[in-house]
């Protein structure tokens, strides 16, 4: 950084941070050329992993290396990129402290550090449960799904304890349940395996549903019945007995299983939890975020996006895609005009994988629930095209 230049730091090299750093370069190009501003990214890894596609790894539909690119190759060359995990935020001094011991000052800060699956937060879940939110865990699940011949697969979904905050990627449990059904049919063992999908009593603002939005919840029984998938409402996972292979609910129920396919509890990264700014329950670490400007409450120059926010929107790349332009525009507006000018409307879009082949484009925002449309082969092809190619264009800020 030259003496006169100011720095915008993006913390986190996931999809949210990557597209935002690239957008910032485009937005501040005149200032960057004059040496007035520089954009810096700090990440804990030299690689970028397309995390949502780990669910395909669980069905052996992807090789893990297909989901990885070098982070530098996704960043515009004007971005100063350091592989140096942030260990501490000094908001009062406008400074971050990194693992290497280096400190970096900033004029503006964007926190996009994602979330981490935390199955250890439920007794027995880490030992007995499987999930598809990280590569290694998905590979372990893939081995079990490839070899199971008969028995019961019990699906459990766990929400954060912070009120009205969703679990990771709202539609993922439905997607994987339908993929599981088709995968087992393809293997020819579906008739010998019972699938039971469960959902907790409290799912954000809804009670006793099968999904976190009512219109989808209403159509799910028909879909599940047509595929002989059993479902249970009001099953909030309390603990798991790994020896007996039984899952117990807070409501007093229990379910035996051969495979426990879970959407586990989640938490923010350690540096965010330790920042002291979170008001979330259960030490989950979500940062208090203005739902319109995406600025962190209590600060003037810190923005939060993606999984790290405490907002009721999906913790997914489809949220980042709509939050990123708001964050970039607001920083630019504050610097050039002195006030924020963009408002996030809560929009999230995605193409849900409904079984192994079909796809269903969907979108919603703060005011409107998902409008359910029939899944189609064309939708499935769109999703696969996104997975294989368009995702990387999105990360580069091209789309």
């Amino acid at each position: 950084m030259t003496n006169k230049s100011k720095r915008i730091i993006v913390v986190g090299g996931g999809i949210g941070g990557t597209m935002t750093a690239n957008h910032l370069v485009a937005k501040f190009y005149p200032e960057i050329l004059k040496g007035e501003f520089e954009i810096m990214m700090l990440s804990n890894s030299p690689n970028h992993v397309y995390k949502p596609a780990n669910m395909y790894v669980a069905f052996n539909a992807y090789h893990p290396h297909e989901l990885v690119r070098k982070q530098r190759s996704l960043l515009r060359p004007e971005i100063i990129f350091h592989v140096d995990a942030v260990e501490g935020f000094e908001f009062e001094n406008n400074r971050v402290l990194c693992e290497s011991g280096k400190r970096y000052d900033y004029e503006y800060l964007v926190i996009s550090t994602g979330c981490i699956p935390a199955p250890e937060r439920i007794e027995g879940l880490k030992e007995a449960g499987d999930h598809f939110y990280q590569t290694q865990a998905a590979q372990q699940l893939a081995h079990k799904l490839r070899t199971i011949q008969e028995g019961r697969i019990f699906i459990t979904v766990n929400f954060p304890k912070t009120p009205n905050v969703p679990h990771q990627c709202g539609i993922a449990p439905i997607e994987t349940t339908l993929m599981l059904d088709e995968y087992l049919r393809k293997r020819g063992v579906r008739d010998q395996i019972e699938i039971i999908y469960s959902y907790p009593t409290v799912s954000q603002l809804l009670r006793n549903c099968l999904f976190l939005q009512k219109p989808t919840c209403d159509v799910l029984p028909t879909i599940f019945d047509s595929k002989n998938i059993k479902y249970q409402r009001g099953f909030t996972l309390d603990k798991v007995d790994p020896e007996a292979k039984i899952a117990y609910s807070e409501e007093g129920g229990s379910q035996e299983f051969d495979i426990l396919m879970a959407t586990p509890p989640i938490r923010a990264v350690d540096a965010v939890i330790n920042s002291g700014k979170s008001e979330a329950q259960n030490n989950e670490g979500w940062l208090p975020t203005d739902f319109e400007t995406l600025k962190m409450y209590g600060t003037d120059n810190v923005y939060v996006m993606g999984d790290t926010v405490d907002l009721p929107v999906s913790k997914a790349g489809g949220s980042c895609h709509n939050q990123s332009p708001v964050v970039v525009e607001n920083i630019a507006s504050e610097i050039r005009r002195g006030y924020t000018s963009a408002i996030y409307d809560g929009k999230v879009q995605a193409i849900a994988q409904m079984g192994l082949e079909a796809g269903m484009p969907l979108w919603y925002d703060y005011k409107h629930d998902v409008q359910v449309a029939p899944p189609t082969k064309l939708g499935g092809l769109m999703r696969k095209t996104f997975n294989r190619g368009i995702y990387w264009a999105v990360a580069r800020g091209i789309v």
Binding site: S73, P77, K384, I390, W392
Partner: protein, 137 residues
């Protein structure tokens, strides 16, 4: 069932179905028919149907394997264009910002910078591979 009976059944169904038996729907369909009539009469609509048929056939033919191949090529071309475009844009800006062109000695000494040497290696490797591909076996 005779043709007349079939037609009556269709009309009955349309009348019973509230979505179809709606003035706005009827007006809209009538407009569409009016618009399409000259094309149908002149036989020009056939091409559109054939085009839709080809699109539909291709969607049927597309499978995961075909998609994997085409998207891989697409991403490689895009990444190449993006990387090259970024480098050209940044180098262009740096060159424009020069107050005077670098001297010959400066240029030669910059050949010894690690990033420049890495880049030269990239170009030489590219030429070596192209040359190998052009060799008569």
């Amino acid at each position: 069932m005779s043709e007349e009976m079939q037609l009556n059944t269709i009309v009955d169904k349309l009348v019973l179905d509230t979505a179809h038996n709606d003035q706005a729907t009827i007006d809209g369909i009538k407009n569409l028919i009016d618009k399409a009539t000259p094309l149908v009469q002149a036989g020009r609509f056939n091409n559109i149907i054939d085009l839709l048929s080809i699109i539909s056939d291709n969607i049927e033919f597309l499978d995961e394997a075909a998609l994997e191949k085409t998207t891989k090529v697409g991403e490689e071309i895009l990444a190449l264009g993006w990387t090259a475009g970024n480098a050209v844009r940044m180098a262009h800006a740096q060159t424009e910002a020069l107050e005077k062109p670098p001297g010959l000695f400066q240029l030669i000494s910059s050949l010894n910078e690690p990033d420049v040497r890495r880049s030269l290696h990239f170009f030489i490797s590219t030429m070596r591979i192209i040359g190998r591909q052009m060799k008569n076996d």
